[in-house]
Subunit: 332 residues, 2 copies
């Protein structure tokens, strides 16, 4: 008979122990489900929470084990600018030959001249114009193809690797661990839902119907005898701040029991999730790792985390320090 | 050893056959997955389709086996008026003591006087006023409780049974059969999403996150220190006609491979589903059974089926005759 031996990953001495010789409560802890997490408070709280809702007193039915995750800054990197904005910028350059007027009008002019600082000085208005010019006027299927083509080839400016390799390994492990324990995992992101869906199934293991995001209105029409959904330039829904609980209610129709974010845009999602008497878990990634990723919080225009830091303790939310809690950041 | 014997349900002679003695291809057909369907063309087409996408040449990955169902008139009865309108009418009566002004203003006045014909003469405007007066101004959780309380006690005026027993037994079998074959089943209804979710999980086996419907906007606010989602009186989304493909795109992010409806409100959903070159199935329940349920189509203001009847053949959609194709209508 094969003797099963496993390395106790969270034991620095790498002591080999025979699984068969241990009592069953011990067995469960041998195969560490979160090997990229250091043995710190946040990891313990996650493991305890999952144990509590899958066993005994505070048992939660599988149907109600809903876990929601922000995307930008929670599941993948959001600095130096949101990935979707990088996509939009590349697309402006690609579409420029058909838009000679962009050479003379902002925010396109500065963008095409490579002066991103000037483009961004246009604020939210400039960003919205860029997004709309690059995200609409085509069918949903053409847009998905465009995203796929871009995400397969584009590289993060700092890390020189595909954006889909700038996802956080500890979070991938957490998603898998929750699903292995009967949770349904959802993305609830301020990013565009149709920008995420072409790749999130493969990268996060989350099916398209469990991706919630901001959206623009689509128009159903018959083109050459075939129906098509055309992406218009009208905003449909902004899935940020108060929009997150309303988006969750609209799409899921249940209150989650676990929410994970990283910025004040996730505040209401965490608040909505954790303001019940039954057991819940709220977590916030704190980007405090300038060496391995980025360090930013209160002052950053992207991923601002201010109120969340102030109020986390009062709400019982766990601050996950990227620097101290995670052994590695990105997948190998 | 226990000898497994099963009744061949679709064999009128009720001949008992030993499962173990048959070749495996034969075994699959013994336990009829759709016992309430007569052995007619529609049943054969459904079985053939499921076989084709789960085996061999036209295999479809489980992630892409998306099946969408209209609700009113497809999964449950919609006559003599939509169930949600019956709920709204009962709620007007319940709320009337707090609204003395309703005694003098239409459409409430006639409704409270029991003159439903006069109420309905107010058309869509009257219906919208009744829905908004009875569906808004409370939290999403209070509304869900209200729906639960009503659906547990209300009775269908003709069938004298709970509305949740006015669902179609052949359709319940189809939902189960599809799920057993790796399909994900969704409801895509013109009805209110929050009117359906409190009971669809139990009755259809479909989780809340797979229910798509019309919705009103909710507002996130803090009440007595706790967050709440308040149902406003602003329409958010009408999930009917062209709204069905856009709702499917917004919520599911994939094109279904099977769509089942019963009225022209489902036309675009069927068209969107079946206008691809890969195998798909489009089906329409035809209410032609005045004895056991209702008979209506082109002229009915509720569940109008006109264009669908004309164009079904051209699109390859299957017309399911309630009278001829279904052995029974409602669960026992």
């Amino acid at each position: 008979m094969l003797s099963v031996t496993l390395i106790r990953c969270n034991n620095p001495s790498n002591e080999r122990v025979s699984k068969k010789l241990l009592p069953s409560s011990e067995k469960d802890t041998i195969r560490d489900p979160l090997p990229s997490w250091n043995d710190v408070e946040s990891k313990k709280k996650i493991l305890d929470f999952v144990k509590s809702v899958t066993n005994k007193a505070s048992f939660v039915r599988e149907e109600d084990r809903i876990a929601v995750f922000d995307n930008d800054g929670t599941l993948w990197t959001e600095q130096p600018v949101y990935t979707q904005l990088m996509f939009a910028i590349d697309r402006v350059k690609m579409l420029a030959p058909s838009h000679p007027e962009w050479k003379k009008t902002q925010p396109f002019k500065s963008l095409l001249q490579g002066d991103l600082r000037k483009t961004m000085a246009g604020g939210q208005k400039a960003i919205t114009e860029i997004i709309m010019a690059t995200h609409s006027g085509i069918t949903t299927e053409e847009f998905a193809q465009t995203v796929k083509g871009w995400i397969d080839t584009a590289r993060h400016p700092n890390f020189k690797r595909p954006y889909t390799k700038c996802v956080y390994q500890p979070m991938l492990e957490l998603l898998s661990y929750l699903r292995a324990n009967g949770f349904k995992t959802f993305v609830v992101s301020g990013g565009g839902v149709e920008f995420m869906r072409p790749w999130t199934e493969k990268i996060y293991g989350i099916p398209t119907e469990q991706i919630i995001g901001s959206s623009i209105k689509t128009r159903y029409e018959i083109q050459d005898g075939k129906p098509a959904l055309i992406r218009t330039s009208k905003v449909d829904f902004i899935d940020d701040k108060e929009g997150k609980p309303t988006g969750i209610n609209e799409h899921i129709g249940k209150r989650p029991i676990l929410a994970f974010g990283n910025s004040d845009g996730d505040f209401q999602m965490l608040e909505w999730t954790t303001s019940v008497k039954t057991p819940t878990l709220g977590l916030i990634v704190h980007h405090d790792d300038a060496d391995r990723e980025f360090a930013y919080d209160r002052q950053s225009p992207i991923g601002t985390l201010d109120r969340g830091l102030d109020d986390a303790a009062e709400h019982g939310w766990i601050i996950v320090s990227m620097k101290n809690d995670w052994k590695i950041i990105f997948p190998d």
